[in-house]
């Protein structure tokens, strides 16, 4: 029952609530699932040196990123007892309040869901060649820096 088909992680623009709902709904036919853990990254309107972030423009080294996402996926299936998992990451412009990352892990029991979702999210942040350009109200920008937990 492990679903491991290769799919494209990078999607153009924000990830919508309707898309997330559709993904959740599709799992209602998989009645061996007991737990889902979903991580969503949302663009914050951080204040940086007195200017407010209104959007992040994401760019990626797409071919390498898809390979990394695939490797992260394979490693998660090898390590945890997953029924299925999906990752979606935005490219292009995502406004403050919109969602740029969607990690969706479904398992029989909740422990695997929690462990795997967190590890996958950390690996995406650490390993995926994706860059965020934080755009301010006045159209100037700064390149996003990842701290731990950011």
């Amino acid at each position: 029952m492990k679903e491991k088909k290769k799919h494209t992680v990078l999607v153009e623009g924000p990830i919508t609530a309707a898309f997330i709902a559709d993904s959740i709904q599709k799992h209602s036919s998989k009645t061996n699932i007991g737990a889902h853990d979903i991580f969503l990254g949302q663009v914050r309107n951080d204040l940086i040196s007195g200017k407010t972030v209104v959007a992040i423009e994401y760019s990626a080294y797409s071919e390498m990123a898809e390979e990394k996402f695939h490797a992260i996926r394979e490693a998660a299936f090898a390590k945890y007892n997953l029924v299925c998992m999906h990752i979606y990451h935005s490219t292009g412009m995502v406004k403050a309040g919109e969602i740029c990352l969607f990690v969706f892990v479904s398992t029989k029991h909740r422990k695997d869901a929690f462990d795997a979702c967190r590890e996958i999210t950390e690996q995406i942040k650490a390993l995926a060649p994706v860059w965020g350009k934080e755009i301010f109200e006045d159209e100037t920008y700064t390149w996003k820096e990842l701290n731990n937990g950011n």
Binding site: Y61, P129, W131, W143
Partner: protein, 77 residues
Amino acid sequence: MEINLLVFGQLSDITKCSEMKIAHVNDTQQLIIKLTTQFPELALSKYSVAVNRKVVFENTMLTDKDTVALLPPFSGG
């Protein structure tokens, strides 16, 4: 002998170009020296080098049509 260079994130602010062809470089070290001569600010930047989508940690031989990428610290998610 010509390689394809990809430049990402804040590094493309330095090179003003995200994709270029570079001839006459036999390994990554020669490439970096050549780029740093052309774009001195690169010397002050933190980045990794990927050859054909794999990050390399030591000087690596290049062959015709290889793709080399300069990757500043990732900031996805």
